[in-house]
Each structure stands twice: as C-alpha cells, then as structure tokens.
Symmetry: C2
Amino acid sequence: MKMSPLKRLLVGAPIPTAQARHERLTKRAALAVFASDALSSVAYATEEILLVLVLAGSGALFFSIPIGIAIALLIAIVVSSYRQTIRCYPQGGGAYIVAKDNLGTFAGLVAGAALLIDYVLTVAVSVAAGVAAITSAFPVLFEHRVALGVFFIIAIMTANLRGIRESGNLFSAPTYLFIASFGGMLAYGFTRWVFGWEMSMPPRPEAAAEGMQAATLFLILRAFASGCTALTGVEAVSDGVPAFRPPESRNARTVLVWLGAILIVLFMGITFLAHHFHVVPNAKETVVSQLARQIFGGGLLYYEIQVITMLILILAANTSFADFPRLAYFLARDGYIPRQFGTRGDRLVYSNGILILGATAAVLIVLFGGETHALIPLYAVGVFISFTLSQASMVRRWLTRREEGWWWRWWLNAVGASITGLVMVVIAATKFRHGAWIVVLLIPLLVALFLGVHRHYADVAGQLSMERYDPPPPIRNTVLVLVGDLHQGVSVALRYAQSLSPAVKAVFVETDPERTRRLEEKWGKWGLGIPLVVLSSPYRSILAPFLDYVDHHLALGEDHMVTIVIPEFIPRRWWQHLLHNQTALLIKGALLFRKRVVVVDVPFHLR
Amino acid sequence: MKMSPLKRLLVGAPIPTAQARHERLTKRAALAVFASDALSSVAYATEEILLVLVLAGSGALFFSIPIGIAIALLIAIVVSSYRQTIRCYPQGGGAYIVAKDNLGTFAGLVAGAALLIDYVLTVAVSVAAGVAAITSAFPVLFEHRVALGVFFIIAIMTANLRGIRESGNLFSAPTYLFIASFGGMLAYGFTRWVFGWEMSMPPRPEAAAEGMQAATLFLILRAFASGCTALTGVEAVSDGVPAFRPPESRNARTVLVWLGAILIVLFMGITFLAHHFHVVPNAKETVVSQLARQIFGGGLLYYEIQVITMLILILAANTSFADFPRLAYFLARDGYIPRQFGTRGDRLVYSNGILILGATAAVLIVLFGGETHALIPLYAVGVFISFTLSQASMVRRWLTRREEGWWWRWWLNAVGASITGLVMVVIAATKFRHGAWIVVLLIPLLVALFLGVHRHYADVAGQLSMERYDPPPPIRNTVLVLVGDLHQGVSVALRYAQSLSPAVKAVFVETDPERTRRLEEKWGKWGLGIPLVVLSSPYRSILAPFLDYVDHHLALGEDHMVTIVIPEFIPRRWWQHLLHNQTALLIKGALLFRKRVVVVDVPFHLR
C-alpha cells in the first residue's frame, strides 16, 4: 500500500473495509458528535434576535422574551416530530430519503438541495461565530478573523478525513464541558438575580437608544426568523442513525430528547439573562461574551466561557462534515450527483464530500468577510424546508400505512409540518432581501443539476447495456509510429510498437527535404527494419497530411482501427514540459474526438 | 486540409511553403511596414519632453528646443551607424545576431532580451497613445480607453496572423497619408508663423505655472531621456532586411535614410511649433491634438489629424508583430526559448510569437490603465541597450576584419556606440525610479531563462544521441485491460486489446464480493474468452492492488513492459467529463512517472 508520507501523517493509515461495523458511536459519543451543531447555536441565536429588535430601539428588546418562548416551543414540536422519523427510518438518510420515499423524487431532491446548502452554511456560520467568541475576548485578533476562520475549516477537514470514531473521541470532552460551563454560568446568573447580588450592572441604555424603525409585526417576525437558527442541527441525529451503536433507532431517539432538553434550557436561559442584564448587541463583542463578563465580572471563568464557546462552534461545523458527505453518498448512489461522492476513501470516510464541503465553506467565509451577521440571512431557510418536507412525508406515510397508533402519530407530525412550514415562509419572506433570495434561487438550480446528471447517467447506461448487443468483430489494427527524428526515445517507441504488431510502419511528415535526407540516413542504421513512410506537407502542417493518412486507413472498413504510437518525453521537472511534446499534444488534441483511433504515448524518462 | 470555419474566416486559407519567396516587400511597402513605429513616436515624444519640463514651470518649456535638436542629431547618428549594419548583415536578425556574432553569446542574449521587452512595450505604448489621440478628439471615449486598447491589440494580432504581404497592403495608405497630413499641418503652421497669421493663440500661461521642481540638469536629462522614445523603431529596418525585395540590403539602406529624414522633419517641426504655439501638456488632451486644434482652429482637418495619428500608432504596434516573432524564431532556432516559436503556422507567419506578443501587451495595457505616460519610463531602455550592443559589435567587427574603408566605418560606428551607450545610461538613471527598474531587473532574468532552456535542450540532446547506443532488445509486452464492469465500452476495449496481443488478461479489483459475482456472470456470456483476474482490495483502493499486480509483471525483467488498456468515455459535452473516467484519470496519474508502463485509452463515444 503506497501513500505519501504527508497524507499518512495527516490522515492516518488506511482502515480495512471489514472494520466498518466497529466505527459506531455510543450514545455519549453520539451526543457529542450530533449535538454540537444544535447546542452551539445558543452562542449566536439570542444575539441575532436582539440585533433585529434593536433596530426599533432598546425598548423593543423586551420582545426577545416572547420570541424565545415561541422558539422553545418550536424546538419541542420538531423534536417530537423527528422521533417518529427515527423510529420509521433506522437506516437514516434524513429528509432526502424520507421525502423521496413518501412524496416522490422531486420532493426528495428539493430536501436534498436544501440540506446540502444548509450544511455548508452551518460550517461557515459556526466557524464565523466561533472566531467571534475568540475575538470578543482578544480584540487584537479581530482583524485576522477571515484567516482564523479558514484555518479552523482546514483543521476540521483534516480531522474528518481521519475518520468518524476518532472524531467522536476528539469531540466528547468539549461538548460536555460546554454543557457544564453554560449550565454553571446560567445557574450562577439566576442565583445572583434571585438573591439580588447585582453589583456591576450597567444602566439600561434607554436614553441613547432611539430606534431607527418601528417595532412592527414584520420586524418582530424577522427577529423570530433570525432566532430560528437555534433549531439548525436538530435534524442531524435523524440523518445519522446508522452511525449509532445498535439498537440504533432507540439510541438515536434517546439522544434526540436529551439534545432538545439541553437546547431549550441553554437557549432560554441566555435569552432571559441577556434581557435581565441589559445586554445590547455590538459589532465587536458578542452577547454571550457581554453576559459572561457581567455574570463573572471578567476573570478566568469569563475566558473559559469564551474558549469553550469557540470550541463547541468549531465542533458544530464538524457535524456537517459527518452529514454532508453522507447525504452526498445517498445522492451519488441514486445517480443525482457524480459517482465519486459515493466512494469511500481509505479511512472509511467519503473524502470527496468532505473536501467539497470544506472548500465551499472557506469560500463563503472569505466572501462574507468572516461576519456571522452577514451569513445568518442565508441560514435556516434550507433547514426549515427540509423539516417541512420531512414531516409532511411522515404525515403521508401514516395515512398510507395506518400502522398501530397511527392517528396520534399522524396528528403529531401534522402539527410539526404545519408549524415548520409556516416558519419556513416567515423566514424566507422576512430575510429575503437580506440574502435568503440566494438560497431560494440556488435550490431550484441544484435540483435542475441533480435531474440533469441523473438523466445523463440513465442515458449512458442505456447506451452501454449489453442486452441486445453483439460484441464487435475482431479488430484489424494498423500500428503507426509518428516520428520527427530518430533518437533514443524514438528507438524505444519503435521497439514497443513492434511488440503490438508485426506490421508496424513509421510515419514522417516532410517540411524540409534536407531533414528527410538526414533522417533516412539514420533510419538505415538504426531503423530496426521498420519501413519509414514519408508524407509531403506543402503547407508545413504536420497534422494535416498525417490525419489524411490515418483517414485513409480508417476508410478500409468499420472493423479497422488505427493505433498511433508517439514517443513522449517525461522530464524531471514540471516546467520542462513546456519545452517538449508540443507535437504530441497537438496530435492528441486533434484525434481526441475521432472514432476508432487510439493514441499511445510511450514514455521516455529524461534524467 | 481541415480547419475550423472561424479560423479560416479570421486567418485565411493556408499558404504553401513554395510561396515563401514571394512574400517580400517593395521599398514603398517596406517603408509603410517598418516606418510606422519610428514615425508614430512623433505623436508622443514631444509631449513626453514637455511633461517633464513643465515640472519646473512653464518657463522651462523652452528647453524643448535644444533637447529636440540633440535628439535629431542622435537620430542622424543612429541611422548612419545602422546603415553599416545592414550592409554587413543582409540576412537580418538585428542586434541579437550581430552582437552574438561579434561580442559572443552573452551579449547577443542581452540584446535579444532587451529587444523582446521593447517590442512588447512598443505595442503597449503605441496602442495607448493611439487611443489617447482618439479620446482627445472624442472625450466621451476617455473612460473606455483600456477596453479600446485591448480591442485594437486583438485586431492587429488577427491581421498579422493572416500574413505579412497582406499587412504591407493594409498599412501603406495610412502611413503615406500620415506623412502627408503631418507634413501639411507643419507647413501650414510654419506659414502662419512666418506671415504672422496668428489669430486664436492663447496667452502663454506664465502666471499659473510656477514649477514644482527646479530646472536642474537632472530634470533636463530626464526630459531628454523621455524624448528618446522618438528613436524606438529605427532598428526595425535592420532587423527585417530579409523581408525586402532583392537587392535586400541596398533597398533596406535606402528605406532607412528616408525614414530618418522624415522622422527628423516631423519630430523637429512638432517640437518647434508646440513651443511657438504655447502648448502645455494636460491629462485629457494630447500635445498633437492641441497643436492641430490651434493650427487649423478645429474643423474637419483637425479630426483628420487625430484619426490618422491613431492609425499610424496602431500600425506602429504592427511593426512589433513583424519583429518580435522574427527575433523569437532566431532565439528558438538557437535553442534559447521553446522550439514552438521556431515553427511557422499555415499562413507562413510565426503564430506563437504573434500570440504571445499580443497577450503580453494587452496585459500591460490593463495593468497600467491604458496610460501612455505610465508606460513611457519602461520604454526605450531596451532599445538603447540593443543600439549600443549592435554598434559596439560593428566596432569589433571592423577591427577584426579590416575590410576596405574599415577605418572610417569603424569611426562612424564607434561614435554611434559611444553616444547611444551614454544615452542608455542617462535613460536608465533618470527614469530608474519611475519604472525603468522593472526593465533593468527583467533583462537579466530573461537571459537566465534563455541560458536555462539552452542547457536543458543540450542536456536532452546528449541523452537522446544514437551514437554509442545499442537499440533496446525486443520487448515482452503484457497487455492488461482494467475493468470495473462489463458494458459496450469495455467490450470494444477488450476487442482492441485482443488485436495487440493474443495473451490479454482483464483485471478487476474487488471491493464488494456481490459485484464480483455479478461481473463473473456477465463475463461468462460476453467476456470474449479473455481470462478475468480478480484482485482483492481490503482497503477499497482500486489503485493499490492493481499497481502491485503491474509491478509484479515489471519485475520479470528489464525487457518487460506492461500495457494497460482502459475503456474511456468520450462524452458529447465537456461538463459530462466530470461525470466519467475518474478511475481512468487516477490510474493515469499514478502511472505517469512509472517506467516501462504504457496506458492506452480506448475511446467509446457517447451519443
């Protein structure tokens, strides 16, 4: 097994297929891997709500409380609804599989496109927010946020190319530390509130904060839509059921409930305390950072909160690195995207999906200047489309199958589908102008691409089918060696051509009679007895007379093929390619689309 | 003879080699082709002098008169000196050939590098100045000057790809019209001066023009250096002697004297009149435009001058399209740049040189924003290096050969070499900070590149030599067909492989036993009796087990080679390549640098 030392160092030694079953996650590890996405959104969801409300002045910030309660309810509904999905789809695959099964291919592809986009955004948003946590604590890094973001994406990508079990190990500690730290911070914050230990609280900045807009229903809905980013990642568990240890389905459902409960507690806690402690969002310091600073009054615990926030967000990006390649695998298996996404690399991971995801997210970070707020309007549209489709599929499924207890399960999913569908419309409408239009435009484009690829593969399969096909008759092959001189490289090519056919001919295109004379002299000495055909070229083109000669042979019949042997230099350094093989390249280019012609390069290695 | 309809339309039908001799220029046509570069510089040379002098206030503009006289003298000296060169080098080649012959390879390469750079700059500067002539008359076009410049370069390039005789025809009328128009304008201007018909002359703007710098010797030398751009192009005649009708040498000398005389008259005339008519350079209108406006008082004749100025400048760029490819041909023939510059295209022109020149000049236009003044400091350094080297070579030659009348010819060239050498130092020193440093840096880099390419070609020639070389023994060739499935494409590849060897084997790498079973079933029906070798792959890599198998065959002996036949899809559309042939690409990449292995793609054309 050969691999470059660099790849082995970064990615690790290959893992045999037989080990595939053991690459599974315990519940504890699965929570770490799949929860980080959903939980990490508490680092920015409250802030995004406040950022919209503050447009109507600091008085409007109060609306964060009812909005927070509505989002917590939404989380509970989505979790209940997804538990049904996990029960019915232990093989995983998420919205794509479920919608395709119940609502048809088209719905499945829409869900698939929406999810692919959202996975990319999860990486970009989480990394940007993670970097913001660090630059809040260390403002000196603020101007390097794009470089930091790209660096983190490369780091996560590398970790994932190593494989999933190691990822589980790597990520357990930070996830649980995050839950403990935030839990502790909130508990201490509420304690201070209840007992009135309020020392350093800044005045509520009422005077300074006249709003630029009125607190209209539209603005409140937009704030709600921004806060809905808290729900992204909840679906990750149902997509990844096969990664759980058996019994996969039951373990996954348990983990999903844990996840929902922790998410509601943390999100609501931060939203309440941010309001209580008069936190107003600002461009250079995150809401969580301001809150932690006030609760702990700065110091070591404050820095611990910032560092663990960054870690959980970086790990959240990691969730997508598990899910994106898996969804790409399903799409590739069904022939909707290029097949290479369906092949596992030598570490049992789908390397191509991982690489594409990392590259796209890094491009987004650069394009949007590493700003969380700039990316948020694109986010969550996709995930709510997939929520809605996934649950509508379940509604359809219960109606069709009418299994035991179907009516209350049907009812549960119907509520879920209606609510998430409504939220989807709210998100798309309120954030449309701020960026959601990009996603709304991109989804149909992706679906069209999927269908085009699928049609192409189906067409090719038809053309290749062996049914009603007679294998071609034996081929009459003419082997020609195209020469421009006679040197050691040509000599090797001549010997090689002799091994292919006893009737090889060498072909030389004459542009200067003096050169022909010199070549014929050499040919007498070293030509290996192979006949030399000289073609005249009144227009100095080497290509045209040679192509005519090839066509002459092809015209002999449909069973004739022509093999053109060309000596090719393999230089030691890449730039030396510019100095050689120009004719070979020309010939290959000219013959690429000609039928029944095969071009064979015989390498001659330069020292 | 096959060529694309687009190419035939733009470039024309191919021309046979036998016609090469007839592609020669009469004296009249030659003046048109070779004079435009030198003559066109009168459109900007005076302006560049004034632009420097005005830094010391409008009072310093008077220095343009003595500077103009000095430059006229310089032109006379260079013309006399170059007449000797033409006499001795009827085969042409200019400074590169002459310096190489007399001062050695290194001096020749320095001259060659300097000239290549100057040809590129001639195109860029002339096109920029031509566009400036037009935007002076039509200010609305000012903001489109970069696009206009690039458009003109593409147009000239296309004309030159058609071939040189047509270029002569195309360019005769504008050159003679330019000489007549400028001659007429100057005559009318002087008449008005002498008879005092001065109507609309603006006041000499003395009050407004306090200088920012003092009129130091350095500033005056810098103005002189800028004016020396008037000399660029004088060497074009001696480079292009073989393009003249016989007797080439005598005709070329005659044309050179004509050229020098016309150049001196036009340049001096404009410089004197510009001073007399109180012309001060400004950013949006050229000096020639202001002068013509004052002499003619606007109107049709004014517009004619602007249009013809533009035409002559566009044609000046054309001179480089004759010379650059010719110099590149000499460098390629001697093995200092890649060989493809030495091949003539099917219209008898050196297409590669033309394309490279056009592309580089277009890049300069874009980088320097289409500004003549920004490009000028880079210009003329190279041409004076080549003047100096060329004439120093002649000095050396007369001393060595001592032919009849050598002493006065020696003296003539010695004066020329000394003066141009001095001017070269002045130009490089005064314009160094403003851009000449780029050229001073680039010349040694190019020379190093030439030497590197030369060493590489010499090295390869040694490795390829048939002297003291025994042709290799007959080759024992193992033909393997790498298959992933059995479909029509594979079927064709199998038949093809059978035509190469009676002992073909098909090789399949097993990643999933179920697929192996299905393949073996198909193989029984349609395998054409070829044995199927199944290699197991515990790590799912298709590459590694196959490479091991190939290595096993290669280990049988130095005379063994392995031919790997791969069925390759040729899709109808380019993007469909992304959907196929990934494995073939991987295999080819992995085997590119392996010795004694030949990869053969057998095309299967998709409908």
